[in-house]
Symmetry: C2
Subunit: 476 residues, 2 copies
Amino acid sequence: MNIQRDDDEYRYKKVEQEISKHIHAGDLTPGDKLPSLRQMSSNLKVSISTVSHAYEELEKRGLIESRPRSGYFVRSEFRKIPTPIVKPATMLEPHTVTKNKLIQTALETVGNKKLLPLGVVCPGSELLPTKHLAKIMTAVVKENPALSMEYESIAGNLQLRRQIAFRSVDCGSNITADELMITIGAMEALYISLRSLTRAGDLVLIQSPTYYCFLQLVESLGLRALEIPSCPKNGINTEELAAAVKKFDIKACILSPNFNNPDGGLTPDDAKKEIVKLLAEKDIPLVEDDVYGDIYFGDTRPRTFKSFDRKGGVLLCSSFSKTISPGYRIGWLAPGRFLDKAMEIKATTNVSCASPTQMATARYLKDAHFDRHLKKLRLAMKEQMTKMRTEIALSFPKGTKVTDPKGGSVLWVELPAGTDGVKLFFRAKEEGIGIVPGSVFSTRDAFSNYIRLSSGSPWSDAIQNGIKRLGELALM
Amino acid sequence: MNIQRDDDEYRYKKVEQEISKHIHAGDLTPGDKLPSLRQMSSNLKVSISTVSHAYEELEKRGLIESRPRSGYFVRSEFRKIPTPIVKPATMLEPHTVTKNKLIQTALETVGNKKLLPLGVVCPGSELLPTKHLAKIMTAVVKENPALSMEYESIAGNLQLRRQIAFRSVDCGSNITADELMITIGAMEALYISLRSLTRAGDLVLIQSPTYYCFLQLVESLGLRALEIPSCPKNGINTEELAAAVKKFDIKACILSPNFNNPDGGLTPDDAKKEIVKLLAEKDIPLVEDDVYGDIYFGDTRPRTFKSFDRKGGVLLCSSFSKTISPGYRIGWLAPGRFLDKAMEIKATTNVSCASPTQMATARYLKDAHFDRHLKKLRLAMKEQMTKMRTEIALSFPKGTKVTDPKGGSVLWVELPAGTDGVKLFFRAKEEGIGIVPGSVFSTRDAFSNYIRLSSGSPWSDAIQNGIKRLGELALM
């Protein structure tokens, strides 16, 4: 364990995270004594005051306690919280998606700004470059007053596409500006992809659980869905996928390899490579959702499926909604060999995206603010998630399990068998707490005792109390 | 004829327009003497200098000539240019739409900013409130820096919807904010409407000619089209429509009653009422495109189908792209009784529109700038169109016919039989002139000797020369 020294102000947070990770992982169990300040300082090559600051924070969070003249100990009440186990893989039957009504209700709740935002996946506004973007938008409008006067091209603003192409090197995708189109968020990228690849009645493969808006789109386009189990730890199961494409006539796969919403699963890069190869052999297009790819907690950015794509069969969908601005609605699509078809669909759906927001985003990226911002955002998201996990461990009923994602901003909570996630959702809503019930993440009767919690908002008393109250409600 | 006195600076233009209208209509023929300045001044109740100014302008435009000591005469070279005649109504067979490739080429040409803009339908940027909007956007961003931070609701910004609802009184529509949703231009409104009403294979009724993007959307959604003839003078033919809905199983109609693109046809309000009644009886939804409704040249705003709708069967689509800002991509949809379905489709297509452009548009409308701006815009559009008609009359081959729309911004030109509009389109493109060939406005082999010219840009030598050159090219 060696704490990087590149970010002074956050050093104690890294110490704090490192220790809480070991507590959550069970390396340190309730009652265990922590190393002395001096010893820890020497181990981690940080100052004693940094360690002391970290210990204080851990104590505040209820993870450890100080005993007079004895030092620091893992709190005895702290119960190690296991991560959900994926049930043995069973080949599932294709389903017609019919969950739209419940999803609609969940969506309305997520959008309800009066509720405690444990349902909204976006980072809290304090974590986004709000003022910076406002400044840039003002400058952009001043320098280009005629911005409002012209339609953007169907593919979108060239400067913006160049910036995205330039950044695609990070995830190994290596896309050029010509291979990209700007979309209204990642949602439109996904919509354009599915319209390009399928027609009503077709079967698409999705992972389970999967983001409910994907299910809603699948239902809306009259498609059928085949679910293969996804695992919070290792993401998409390659064997399951191979068996499924062998057995069924699948027209497209929709997969989120990096921090799947809701279970946070990260598919290893090796598995990604294998999946791309497998699908290329079968000539099955792969729609990749990478909206959380930039919010990784580890040292390196996870790669995309697209980065292994040699035949143009991967359609990469992403956006800046989770990292810069939800309100700008700027996403993008690298549709591989389906570019012509995708452009045609964009043209007939809404012609092109708004000009000012595209240009402001391009400028923000060009001035190299993004990397610095992302670095801070990742650290904050990691910290918030750790705090939320801890509070769940302290407050939720015995038997609760919660994921331990390596990125993203959601926790997938498995409540004790028999607990009804939908009932909890409605109860929480009545008390002003917004969450999402687990069952909207599948086409089947699954995940009824699950809920998804977003840890996107900065930790606060209100959120801590909300989690506490949820724990009580789950017991009722 | 009585010239209104409410707009001093444009008074002479009204005189000028009035006279040229009579020349175009054939009321005044080549060689006819115009009334003296004094007589005209007394007739129109305007000053002699106003009439003199108007006569000078008409002379500059080549419509009239002054003969020493004799007065003003209609130029003998001036050939009265007839408007196209609609062929006898024949019931058409449903068609599968397959024109996308040619339309794609036409679209690229329209978007090519290096070409003379006789293809682009939008008003020239000089005519739009560019600076004003930029100022408002700056203020909006300054006052609401957090604008970028939140998703708008699926229905869109409430302030904007309220402004649109408030303005809907003008066209008799009387929509409330709750019945409206904001879309990415009118194109998305149309897309959402068709997705709400139809499935692949369904038959939709359109008027012929119709805007090629509608055909492209119809093709893209796998629908079939039944065309009923539209007339540049009286728009949609009610009898034809009645016969069509009786004979065929039509799932939806797409109609542009106000200044149909490309033929400029205006369906009289009485006919609108009858059509709404007829379709309501048959329970056939009517998708109404009203993007040009605000650009009327007469005294009153034409009504919408929506204004006669009592059963929620009309889905009104419109936008600010032709009046305020093409680049903001702000449109709207009043989907009547299909609101729930429409919201579901919006949610699964792109969730919501960008926040800043919505808020800026709402502010622009709220500060009551719009009506003043529209008044000027209408006058300018009318003037430009008259000048273009005149130049076509002077420069195009004998046998050419051109429409005389009462609003909008396009002229529909019927070239002498045998002239190939597509060839002319490619020839013009080579010479840097952007036009649209007539055949993209129908699913059938029709309008091959037609072209559409946009008179949206302010009159200039470049445009005058472009029209002249087109006339020469049409002869080749």
